[in-house]
């Protein structure tokens, strides 16, 4: 897989003199940082595929290992909070890699002055989320930093799991004709955070979609079997970014249909007002899967039959052409390219 990737795209060079905010937004700038600076320095076959979790052969089993840091502001938002997010995020990175979670670790970076009540609330949220996913937080670390050096609380979680021996998931196994499934509405988490920050004086009922994907993944694995090719958790950068990565890594073209994209009216409305595209807005409880055409109907049915997948849709398909690009048929009857963003989506002025 790593060899294949290097054939597909040339090595990037990270030439920015300093890191700026765009390097953390999950788009092209982030890719450049990872592939131009981190990957060359850390070069090893487990890291090279840059998937959601590294797969490590260990005796008779294959271990899955993943880590993620959570720096969300505000700490509590409609539909969730940082503690719950930190557990679900790592559980989901394991789940979409086809692995059952074995244990998590959690590191807390606490800013001086944080109310104990808040810390207690978040640790309890972590415990609840871990219980829901059926996994223990088995190791941890705590650091306190001076006031002004952190947004109250940062949480870093690491997860280890055992990869399902039955399924082999990768962008390389995706082929023309395959269908692209999305387990529900796009952009709920990002929109909830934007609104909760209160910079916009927008009032809308949008809840973050944070949830463990474990049952959705089990359902699609059972229904699609060997027809399941690829799964991702479209968090930062949204579905638009994941589809671009898939197009690039598989060498195939991807076509999506705007009318099939499940998007809540209120999220669409907030995005229209802000001039941003829900395709690039973060999700924290959605499964994006690619399945063989003959397994697509069963997979869709399976998604819709479990909690959190009621609004699942087949949003597009894999084609030969245009190679390594994502194209959308608009609801208006035209077509347009969906490119990867450079940094954060910048609101338009008028």
């Amino acid at each position: 897989m790593s060899e294949q990737r290097q054939k597909v795209h040339p090595r990037l060079r990270f030439d920015a003199p300093r890191v700026d905010m765009s390097h953390g937004a999950g788009g092209k700038a982030t890719h450049k940082l990872i592939e131009g600076l981190l990957l060359p320095a850390l070069e090893n076959p487990a890291l090279a595929p840059l998937s959601d979790a590294a797969i490590l052969p260990f005796g008779d089993v294959r271990l899955a290992l993943t880590t993620d840091s959570f720096v969300v502001r505000p700490l509590k938002f409609p539909g969730g909070s940082i503690g719950e997010l930190a557990v679900n995020g790592t559980v989901n990175d394991l789940a979409v890699s086809g692995a059952a979670p074995l244990a998590l670790s959690a590191a807390l970076i606490v800013e001086e002055g944080l109310e104990t009540e808040v810390l207690k609330r978040e640790v309890e949220a972590m415990a609840r989320a871990a219980g829901r996913a059926g996994v223990a937080i088995a190791a941890g670390d705590t650091k306190v930093v001076e006031r002004g050096k952190g947004d109250g609380l940062y949480v870093i979680t690491t997860g280890v799991g055992i990869a399902d021996p039955e399924i082999e998931l990768s962008a390389a196994s995706v082929r023309p004709g395959d269908k692209i499934l999305c387990s529900g509405t796009l952009g709920d988490h990002g929109a909830a955070i934007l609104i909760a920050r209160g910079d916009l004086d927008l009032e809308a009922d949008v809840l973050s979609d944070t949830r463990p994907l474990t049952t959705l993944v089990e359902a699609i694995k059972d229904a699609a079997g060997a027809g399941l090719r690829f799964m991702r958790d479209p968090t930062r950068g949204g579905v638009g970014t994941v589809l671009n990565e898939l197009a690039r890594d598989s060498g195939c073209g991807i076509v999506i249909w705007e009318e099939r994209l499940p998007i809540r009216e209120v999220v669409q409305g907030a995005c229209e007002i802000l001039g941003i595209d829900p395709l690039y807005v973060a999700n924290e409880g959605k499964l994006l899967a690619v399945v063989a055409p003959e397994a697509a109907d069963a997979a869709l049915e399976a998604q819709r039959s479990v909690e959190g997948g009621e609004e699942a849709e087949i949003i597009g398909e894999v084609r030969e052409e245009p190679a390594r690009m994502v194209v959308m048929h608009t609801g208006f009857g035209g077509t347009r390219m969906i490119d990867m963003l450079v940094g954060d989506p910048l609101p338009r002025i008028c």
């Binding site: 700026d20 347009r336 609101p347």
Partner: protein
């Protein structure tokens, strides 16, 4: 979504497109310029070109306020932003516009206090909340955004907020369009007039287009059906031999404009004798500066900005693209030296910029996509 879905109806779109096709004379090539960057964005976002017959060509005009800012003005903004006492505020799309030594996002990483706001009133609120800092708002935009800057300055004066100032880069829409019409290398059949600007200035200022230059102008809204309908209205004018200003966006644009907004602007701003436009050069009376009555709030005076002119990178052909002489992909650095990651020209930065829109939405051969589902 109510009030949006209705204007994105594919069935209606097909009907309007079919009518447009019947009005197009065989063998004639039509060049229609959409003046406004918001229209460019809509055209690409919804793939409107795919619905039009090949003989109708849409040419992207100079109406993206971020794209027409000359590099010298970006540099001067960055100089102000780097001052330690300053909180520098601007709209989101300004953050990545290249100056000669970097953009605002990069100097923010170097320690400058640069903040994105959604309205100049947010900048004024920051000034109220940070009385020991200087808050500067980097004002950009056509007559669309100028009234909100004017209103903010009126409020700042009334409240006596001393630590607030505005670096004014507001521009006006009519002079660059007139400059384009005077340019010899351009052949256009008609204009799609800017909708948001017209909510302020109304439709009367465009009457010179048919009267002096014989070009129809239809003021249009921003949903895809608005644009298609305005093209249909233009095709009707051309087919019937009429030449006038029409208002497709009457649900929002009053013929006489917004008099209250115009009064505020008249109080706070005055015309600059000339202003530099990226790619278009100096255009007389094409921009606004802060009037003497509000000069206290003028960041150009407060920080004595030198008004240095910085030449665009030599390879850039933004001017030709802005004038519609070149298509974005015909520029010699498009997609190679100039990409959304490393823009040389501002047209590649804002999502309203013709090059960025083309790069993000349109960069692929039409026939390669194949039939719909």
């Amino acid at each position: 979504m109510k009030y949006v879905k209705e204007f994105r109806n594919a069935e209606l779109a097909r009907a309007v497109a079919a009518e447009i096709a019947t009005l197009a004379e065989p063998g004639r090539h039509y060049k229609i310029m959409e003046v406004c960057g918001g229209h460019t964005h809509t055209i690409y976002r919804h793939g409107i070109k795919d619905l039009l017959p090949d003989q109708i060509e849409l040419v992207h005009g100079p109406g993206c306020p971020v794209c027409v800012l000359p590099m010298g003005r970006v540099d001067e903004g960055i100089d102000i932003a780097e001052r330690p006492e300053v909180i520098f505020t601007c709209f989101g799309d300004m953050m990545r516009v290249p100056g000669s030594r970097g953009n605002l996002l990069e100097i923010k990483a170097q320690g400058a206090d640069v903040r994105m706001v959604y309205s100049p009133l947010d900048a004024l609120r920051l000034a109220r909340e940070n009385p020991d800092r200087q808050v500067v708002f980097y004002a950009i935009g056509f007559e669309t955004t100028a009234p909100s800057t004017a209103l903010t300055l009126q409020r700042a004066k009334k409240e006596g907020i001393e630590n607030f100032s505005v670096f004014c880069n507001h521009v006006t829409i009519v002079p660059p369009v007139r400059a384009l019409l005077d340019s010899p290398d351009l052949r256009l059949d008609a204009f799609i007039g800017p909708g948001h600007v017209s909510t302020i200035i109304g439709c009367r200022p465009y009457e010179f287009m048919p009267a002096d230059y014989g070009k129809p102008c239809v003021v249009a809204g921003f949903e895809p059906l608005d644009i298609l309908q305005s093209i249909l209205m233009i095709m009707h004018q051309l087919a019937e031999g009429r030449c006038e200003v029409e208002n497709q966006y009457a649900r929002v644009v009053p013929w006489e404009g917004n008099l209250a907004a115009l009064r505020s602007m008249a109080e706070v701003f005055e015309l600059r004798p000339y202003f530099e436009w990226r790619g278009l050069g100096f255009i007389a009376q094409s921009a606004l500066k802060i009037s003497p009555a509000y000069s206290y709030f003028d960041a150009e005076l407060r920080y004595s900005t030198p008004g240095v002119r910085v030449a665009d990178p030599k390879a850039c052909q933004c001017g030709e693209v802005l004038k519609g002489v070149l298509k974005p992909h015909e520029c010699r650095v498009f997609g190679t030296a100039c990409t959304p990651e490393h823009p040389l020209g501002a047209l590649m930065v804002s999502s309203e910029g013709a090059c960025a829109a083309y790069f993000n939405f349109g960069r692929r051969a039409k026939e390669k996509v194949g039939a719909t589902e």
